[in-house]
């Protein structure tokens, strides 16, 4: 490539600089686009699952580069098509070479670090940061075209000097890969982003990007993906499901189309509360003292199924219903636990149980379950999976007076109410991977 970008090949010194610039821009843009796609894919897959894979890959790559293990890495053992520069105009072939090398997949890879970078971008699960990170690979490609010429007219001498330090560079690469592996391994806890999305708000509910929450003023606010806000006065306990919103008002539970407020269903009873909607199913708690009972009603067939009964003052918490699974918490003076039922099969699973903490307000999304685990002086937002025993801490508060309250979970983010007990102030936060 060094011999390609010479005044002789390009036609003049000016054309050489133009060619190098186009190559550099193209390499950086292509690698950034690659990072963007990987970050996007990571956000759709769920970053928590990708981070540990990337960490493992980095460590395996470090072992390979250190000569501890041997295996082939996927690569196209080709160079850029030489005939381009004879057949195509300089802007096209220079940009084409930059794109080919910047993408990384279409050329020789002497070391496995590129693949670790790709895995890291996937694990970031955020398209723009991933694009910025991977664009450094393209910048590196561009640098190797420009840098050897900075002192000498004979760039091959600079390359030979670099080659003579190959051993040092490989060792530095091993160290960098090990550092990447370690950093990625601790990333789920350290790199989490927690941002406030609503003040004086609680009880978040999220579906397909639309978020709704209750406010301290006694309203429910819906924030659609497209922007704007829709307010439902005199309402609490919102639950979104597609175009529908369930909430509690003074007359019972109301289900509406949140876009225009059209009422779809109503359960008229002052004793029902805590709706959780997964259209056409609605979970709710009915109080018939001294018992609280958790039901799921099919709003199209009117079939009602009982899932839990507790004797007061046992706490039967706000349920969560999504993708055919129902989650709720119970807390007695002896213990608290999180239970998830698969409605189709009736299979029950206790996600968490403790005698020394207070587990509450779970949310379910496919196989993910998020809940609040309050302990002495610290409150955790935890996530588990129905398919494994793995648990991760998404967020934590070290305080005796500040705690998390209700939750909601989506494909790539968890939402929670942060509650300051002495002032009763609440805000809704989003935790992204």
């Amino acid at each position: 490539m060094l011999e390609t970008f010479t005044p002789a090949v390009c036609g003049s010194r000016k054309r050489q600089i133009a060619g190098q610039s186009l190559f550099a821009v193209s390499a950086v843009v292509t690698s950034a686009a690659l990072g963007l796609l990987l970050g996007l894919a990571g956000s759709m897959l769920g970053a928590e699952q990708a981070v540990l894979g990337a960490a493992a890959l980095a460590l395996v790559a470090a072992a390979r580069e250190a000569g501890l293990i041997r295996f082939s890495i996927p690569q196209a053992r080709r160079q850029v098509p030489e005939h381009w520069r004879f057949e195509l105009p300089l802007p096209v072939w220079a940009s084409g070479y930059g794109a080919g090398l910047g993408a990384g997949f279409f050329t020789y890879q002497p070391i496995s670090t590129f693949w670790v970078a790709c895995a890291g971008a996937l694990a970031l699960a955020q398209p723009v940061p991933a694009a910025l990170c991977v664009s450094l690979y393209g910048a590196g490609r561009a640098l190797m075209v420009v840098w050897p010429r900075r002192r000498s007219d004979d760039p091959t001498a600079a390359v030979e000097r670099l080659t003579s330090r190959r051993g040092t560079l490989l060792r530095a690469n091993v160290v960098a890969l090990v550092a990447c592996g370690v950093l990625l391994a601790v990333a789920p806890a350290a790199g989490a982003g927690v941002t406030r999305i609503a003040q004086n708000a609680y009880d978040p509910t999220v579906d397909r990007g639309t978020i709704a929450f209750a406010t301290a003023g006694g309203n429910v606010i819906v924030r659609p993906v497209g922007g704007g806000e829709i307010t439902y006065p005199g309402a609490t306990g919102p639950s979104l499901s597609g175009p529908y919103l369930a909430y509690r008002d003074s007359a019972g539970i109301r289900v509406v189309r949140w876009a225009d407020g059209t009422e779809v269903r109503r359960i008229a009873s002052p004793y029902v509360s805590k709706p959780a909607l997964d259209w056409p199913r609605l979970a709710f708690v009915r109080r018939a003292s001294p018992y609280d009972r958790l039901y799921v009603r099919n709003l199209t067939s009117s079939k009602v199924t009982l899932y839990a009964t507790v004797r007061l003052p046992t706490d039967l918490g706000r349920p969560s219903l999504r993708h055919g699974r129902l989650a709720w918490h119970t807390a007695t003076r002896r213990e608290s636990k999180i239970t998830v039922v698969t409605l189709a099969s009736g299979a029950r699973r206790t996600m968490a149980r403790t005698r020394i903490g207070l587990l509450g307000n779970p949310s379910v999304y496919r196989t993910k379950v998020v809940w609040v685990d309050a302990r002495f002086g610290v409150t955790f937002l935890k996530q588990g999976w129905l398919t494994s025993s793995r648990r991760v801490v998404l967020a934590r508060i070290k305080s005796r007076t500040v705690s998390y309250w209700t939750t909601s979970v989506a494909s790539n983010a968890a939402y929670m109410t942060r509650w300051v007990m002495p002032t009763a102030h609440t805000d809704v936060y989003r935790r992204t991977p």
Binding site: G237, D315, E335, S336, I356, R375, M421, A424
Partner: protein
């Protein structure tokens, strides 16, 4: 002349507690005996007979040995009531597992003594309140054989403090090193310690 019932009981309690005070060996049965004396006599007779000094402490008043406190809402002050449930270290009021002061029905109270309400305005349901030895230490340390066994007494803050061993068959104590028999019996050893302030002056 027949003595009043209360005076006779006090004298019996005094004899029992004097025997306790004279015997300074760390034998487990004496701890039990002491607990029985306190429970039966429950008054000034025991306090007068024990005549303890203010006890030096490693990490809490009255504890002159090195075993650490059991896990509790306010570590390392594992203050318990007579049934082993947690109390607030300074006020002595019942607390739940989150360290919140609770009323007799188990409801958490706010700073004004009213039942704590959630963000939605509803009174919070009672949270778990479980025993420091059998529940807390069991869950935190994964030991299933924990029992409250031996105990001994010291003077702390002008009142008699009952220090209690949480005992296990484990040969390691909460500190991570080898455990001592202490006041435990039946093959158990001291895993961690708690205390109960009796309220009896000393």
């Amino acid at each position: 002349m027949q003595q009043p019932e209360g005076t006779r009981l006090d004298r019996q309690a005094e004899r029992l507690s004097a025997k306790l005070a004279e015997s300074q060996t760390r034998k487990s049965f004496l701890g039990r005996l002491g607990a029985a004396a306190l429970a039966i006599a429950g008054g000034s007779a025991v306090a007068a007979a024990v005549k303890p000094d203010e006890a030096d402490a490693f990490h809490l008043c009255g504890h002159i040995w090195t075993t650490g406190s059991c896990p509790s809402p306010y570590p390392p002050l594992a203050r318990i009531d007579r049934k082993g449930f947690p109390l607030h270290p300074s006020s002595g009021r019942p607390i739940d597992n989150l360290g919140r002061i609770v009323d007799s029905a188990g409801y958490a109270l706010d700073g004004n003594g009213k039942r704590l309400r959630g963000p939605d305005g509803a009174v919070l349901a009672p949270g778990p309140r479980t025993r420091v030895c059998e529940d807390w230490t069991r869950e935190v340390k994964g030991l299933r054989d924990l029992r409250i066994q031996g105990s001994w007494y010291r003077c702390c803050g002008g009142q008699i403090r009952k220090l209690t061993d949480c005992c296990s068959f484990s040969r390691r104590r909460i500190n991570g090193d080898a455990s001592l028999v202490g006041y435990c019996w039946g093959g158990r050893r001291v895993y961690c310690v708690m205390y109960y302030d009796t309220g009896l002056p000393c």
